[in-house]
Each structure stands twice: as structure tokens, then as C-alpha cells.
Symmetry: C3
Subunit: 273 residues, 3 copies
């Protein structure tokens, strides 16, 4: 499936929303094309937590229409030798560092396969009042510390505006693997995210949840499954099929993560009938 | 006043901005129509605090142009028997659970009356790569836990894009009442919101503030009224007409809520000349 | 350079993102013109911290295309005699209080000079259902406490939509100076911002960083300079050229501000070869 840009760009970073960094990325993209439209996925990824960023990108990117560019920057290796890449998968494009951040989403989105290119040949527009810069070879950017603004944002904008084909951005590359397997086994996994409500979201698919009679999570036994939060007895951990298609452990009217003192990485085992 | 959509959708939730949930709602709406435009009112409503959500929606929705769709989801009863509704009031549309969240705003916005419909007949677009789903009867959604994405967002998008008339979404319903009366009495009320500056916003209208000589709030007497913050003596609580048309108690250069150790629910009594 | 509006409005405030205040500003602007597009720079400026707001506006505004309107409100003097102004600099427009908030950015953006006008003649659109108000003389606004919504947002929207020329908003004014000099000396400055990663961003230009052999910051000696974060030894403070063109002190895998117990205002001295 080829990439036909819709002009929509999503952003996912660990930059926070307070320091103007995200606005600078959007500003640069608007200099490439003032018609682009932005949707923030999250900027509150824990600093440099690539795995958390990969999870949030994966569960969100799949809901956007084909033609969307997903710009993701959680990039502890900025300025070093790690590659900067663009990918095409399932009619979406993804732009970011080649550190595993994009791969879960690319694997979820792809129809048959994904393809990737190094960002060797991207023009970075300068500050106000300057002419758009000449193409900037990687490693010689004006900034060594903010490729989000100086490399990834221009590449994403060029793709989203239809000004460049992905193939023109650089030479093909075989990107590094996803950080952890999406599925560790049918019945063994771990907590991959804790959301604002304190729900413990696991790596385990909820597809066969109707066969599960209980689960163990970080040493706690959870014997009760429900279909939705309001069906749960108040104050008692229950398991259910979460909105990302994964099994979650939740407490009605409370935060499961606090109540059970668990966080990302806690092991989960399903017990089936 | 009929509803003539402008393509603008506001969002108010208790989902936070960190977990990708809001982005998934916007993604689904962009699948319905890529032209829609979004304005976030707040996603930091305290988890499941319907009353706080109702207050923030009420004070904000009134400023938008007619033709706006207000999508609001603070929904402790998600998946249960509570109805999902769309309303039309004063040329605006509102979409969300029938738990009181929408009613203050609807009462403020309406010109003559408001009308409401159950969301019995909404098509939920699926994930990337799937065809738009057939109409999904309520209670049989793909997700029992995230009607914000799977039911309310599609309904809001269909209205905002002009693809469906409100009447076509389901059968008419008489929605439940607002959670608390907007006005508890001309001179007795309570704190309904504490904002970022620690201002204590009350339920009492500021229309006749010129007759008020002092007020009591949570056991504290506040004898000084001012027109604006900079007119207040530093460090001393004062009362004034806030930007929402309600009486506020404020401390210049400080946070009244912290200084007076008060929060939402504290009683307020006006003393008039 | 004249101002040719692009329809893009940036927003920078100390209002937070939780209370609906920013949404009300956007709502009013959409009532002026439903085509306007918004980019948030930051709403997390510390309450009433004009200097922090001025810094964030300065480092971000320069990246936007000409034709952008920058709406900035950090305004402890709201309702008092401080002037409300619009400025034009380098093909951008800036709107906000005349308290120094806009001046760093205006000085950075200007090609030859900047010009400014008092907002004496701005029409504030009312709430839903009301007619657009007649022009509101400053000092007689419906709200004394929220000029962001009632004065600055309408002015910004009128400029951004091309409905009014800057000259028509009021009489020319010579705005007050920037709060602190952008440059305090070639080799002596201070910390002007601490970002989400705990990086200490200084007032000192990174242009001649290659001559710097070490620096002292708040009593700490930092002898190591690097080009990018990943080049630094873990856990050790280093200095580098930050993305805003200023010298930063950073700790790889940690927060320099916490580790060195430093914050905004800490003195910095460069030692050159």
C-alpha cells in the first residue's frame, strides 16, 4: 500500500508541553507547508523511555486514517550514530529515530510489509528571516541536540505535504527490531503501561479473554473478570478487555496501580478454564 | 434554533493528555471526516468527577460560535445502562453520557429549549485497514470501556461534518437533570471550582456584586471587594467578579485555596448592604 | 516588512490547560473567524512569571513562518493601567500586555524595526447568542480579570484573519523595555530556564562555544563540553550548545537542575582558552 498524504501529522515525544519544544517542531512544519494539521498523541512519555513511547504510538496510530504521518521523537541517542528514518506501513508514514520507537506501530499498521529509508537528504528550514537551508547531511545539522525540530519535523512535513516521496529522503535501510516482542506468550506477559486512572495495561491480548478464569499479576491473584468498569465491585481489582485490545487490571473508583503497588514490568500469568 | 455544523469539535474529558486516549478519539473523527477541527477544553477533569466536568463545559461552551459540537466524556458508568446522548441547544450540539455532564451547558446555551436523542444508531469506524463498521447497536460495541472513542466520537464527527442530522442518531429522550442547581439561592452557594491560580470560583452570580459588602467562605470572612486582581492588597483575600460571571475569592500574588485551606464544596454566604 | 496574515495564531499563557481559559480564548477567536488555526507554545508558564514567558516566546516565535500572530498573556497587571498592545516585527505580529512579555521576541524577529499600537479600538465578541459587541474602550470591558479572552484574543483574531490592519487597532505607542537584557556580557550570564529534562539553559550565546574551556554555574565548575547529550559521560554535568542557540548545562540520564540544586537565576561565568 503506497502512501498518499492527507496533510495530517501526529506528534509523540518526551518533550513535555511546557518548554516550547513541540511548538518549535510545529512551526518548522508550518514553514514547509502552512496547510498541515497536527494531532498530539502524547508529549508526556517519561524522559527517554523509548518502550513507553513505542507502546503509546502503537495503540494510537492504528486509529488514524491512511495518509497520516506519525512523527515520534524519544531519542536518547540524538546527535550520535543512531540512524534517523522514515517508514511506510499500511498507507501510513512514520518518522523518527531508529531505536525501536516506531516498530510496534509499523508492525501493527502494515498490510503486507513495511519499508524504511535513512533521512540523508532532508532540507531543514531555518529560523524566521532566513532562507530555507540547503539539504543538510545528517551529522552536520545546525543543532546536535534537537533533531526533532531540525531533521524529523522537516522530513515529516515534506512527506505530509506531498512535496517529497519517501524514497527521495535517503537510501533504504533495514531498521532495528522492536524493543520487546509484542506477544511474549499466549498466557504470560507483563504490565506495559499504567494510565491516568491507574489501570494496569498488560501485553496480553484480550481476544480469548472469555476462557480466562483468573490471573496473577505481580504476586496478586485477580479472580474476577468483568466487561466494563461499572460492573466491578468497588475497591476490588478485576480484569477486563481494555480499549487497546489488551487485558487490563482495574479497580472501580480507585487506582489499581496504587492499590496493588505495581508498575510497568510487573509479570502477568493467565489461568484458563 | 437548528444546528448548522461549522466543522469545529471541542473535547472535554477526564482522560488526561498522556495516554493517547484523546488522540484516539480525534483519530476516529478524522476517519469520519478529515476536515474536522478540534479545540481541547480540558482533559484534566479529576477522574470521574462529573460535576467538575459539567462546570468547565458550561463556562467554556458558551463562548464558541453556533455550529460547534461539544464532545464531553466523564463517564464512570461506561458500559452500563446509562444512556449515551446527543443534544441540540442554542445552535450548538453536545454529545456525551446522560449523567448530568451536558446539562449545565445545554441550559446556558439554549435559546428556547433543548432537544436530545439516544445514540442508538451510530456507525463506529474501525482501526486502520478495516472497513467502517456497520451501525453498532449500543451495548454491542467493540469496546465496553471506551465509548469516548467507539461511540461518542463517531457521533460527534457525524454531526460536525454534516453527514447526519441529530434526529437520525436515535430516538428522542428526556435527559436526566443537571447534577446540582446552577443557583442555590441569591446569597448562598458554594465553591464549584479551584483554578490554576488558586482562585476559589463560587456558584454565585456576580451580577449584583455592587450591593455586596462582604462574604463568608468556609468560615473565613472576606470584607474587601475589588474590580481586578492588581487592585487587591498583596496577600489578603478579596472577592471580585470573575471571568465566568461568578463571584471569585482571590489572593494577589498567592493562591487563595492554599492560604485559606479551602476547596470545592466550601459554603459561601453573601452579606449585602 | 509589513504584516501579511497567514491565519495562524500561537498562544502562550500562564493559564494552564485544565481550567478552560485557553479554550475560551480560542472560542472567541473562532467567533471572529472560523478559519483561524492555533498552535500552543506553552500554557505552563509559572503563574505571573513574565520573564519566563518572555523567554519561551522568544525561543519559539522565531521558528514560525512570517504572517503568524503570537498571542501572549502573562499579565499580573490585568485590569490596571498597564497598556494592552499589538506589535509588528519581521513580518510577525505580537499581541499582549505591555509589560516586557513581547519584547525579547520582537527584538529577535524584527528585520529593521518594530512598531506598536495600543489596543484602544477592539471589538470583543460576546457569549453565544449575543451580537458582537460594539467596540469596547479599554477599561470598560465586560471582564476586568480576563483580558486574554476579552481583549487580546479578539485583537489577535482580527489581525490573523486580515479583518483589521494593526494601525487601526489604536494609537502608536513606544512599548516598555524588555525585562532583562538578552545579553548581560559576553562571558557572564545566568540560568534563564530549566526544561523538562532538567537542562539548565543560560542567557549566554553558544556562538563562540568552541573557545570555552569550562564554566562555573552557581558555584559548580563544569569542565567538560560536548556536542550532544549522548556524547556525555553518564551522571556528570557537561556544557553544550542547546537548541535555542544558548549554552546549556546538562546531565546525561539525569536532571542537571536537581543534581546541582540550581534553578532560574543562578549565575554563570565562562572561562575561555
Amino acid at each position: 500500500m503506497t502512501f498518499a498524504p492527507s496533510g495530517i501529522v501526529t506528534l509523540l515525544t518526551d518533550f513535555g508541553s511546557s518548554d516550547g519544544y513541540v511548538a518549535q517542531m510545529k512551526a518548522v512544519m508550518l514553514r514547509v507547508s502552512p496547510k498541515l494539521r497536527f494531532v498530539d498523541i502524547s508529549h508526556d512519555v517519561a524522559p527517554q523511555d523509548v518502550a513507553q513511547g513505542a507502546f503509546l504510538l502503537d495503540v494510537s496510530a492504528r486509529w488514524f486514517p491512511a495518509g497520516t504521518v506519525h512523527l515520534a521523537v524519544v531519542d536518547p541517542g540524538v546527535g550520535s550514530e543512531r540512524a534517523a528514518i522514515a517508514m511506510v506501513a499500511g498507507g501510513h508514514a512514520l518518522v523518527g529515530p531508529d531505536n525501536g520507537l516506531l516498530m510496534h506501530a509499523a508492525e501493527t499498521l502494515r498490510d503486507s510489509t513495511h519499508r524504511a529509508w535513512r533521512l540523508d537528504n532532508v532540507t531543514a528550514p531555518g529560523e524566521a528571516g532566513t532562507e530555507p537551508a540547503a539539504p543538510v547531511p545528517q551529522g552536520l545539522l545546525s543543532s546536535f541536540t534537537f533533531h526533532g525540530r531540525d531533521l524529523f519535523a522537516p522530513a515529516a512535513a515534506l512527506l505530509a505535504a506531498g512535496l517529497r516521496e519517501p524514497e527521495s529522503l535517503g537510501r533504504p535501510i533495514d531498521p532495528g527490531p522492536a524493543l520487546v516482542p509484542s506477544v511474549e506468550g499466549p498466557d504470560r506477559g507483563r504490565v506495559v503501561h499504567v494510565d491516568r486512572f491507574g489501570n494496569l495495561i498488560t501485553s496480553l491480548s484480550a481476544e480469548t479473554l472469555d476462557q480466562v478464569v483468573s490471573l496473577e499479576i505481580g504476586g496478586h491473584r485477580v479472580p474476577t473478570g468483568v466487561r466494563f468498569y461499572a460492573e466491578a465491585p468497588a475497591g476490588t481489582p478485576v480484569f477486563l478487555a481494555g480499549s487497546s485490545g489488551r487485558i487490563e487490571v482495574s479497580v472501580r473508583g480507585g487506582a489499581a496501580a496504587d492499590l496493588m503497588d505495581l508498575s510497568v514490568g510487573a509479570p502477568v500469568v493467565l489461568l484458563r478454564a
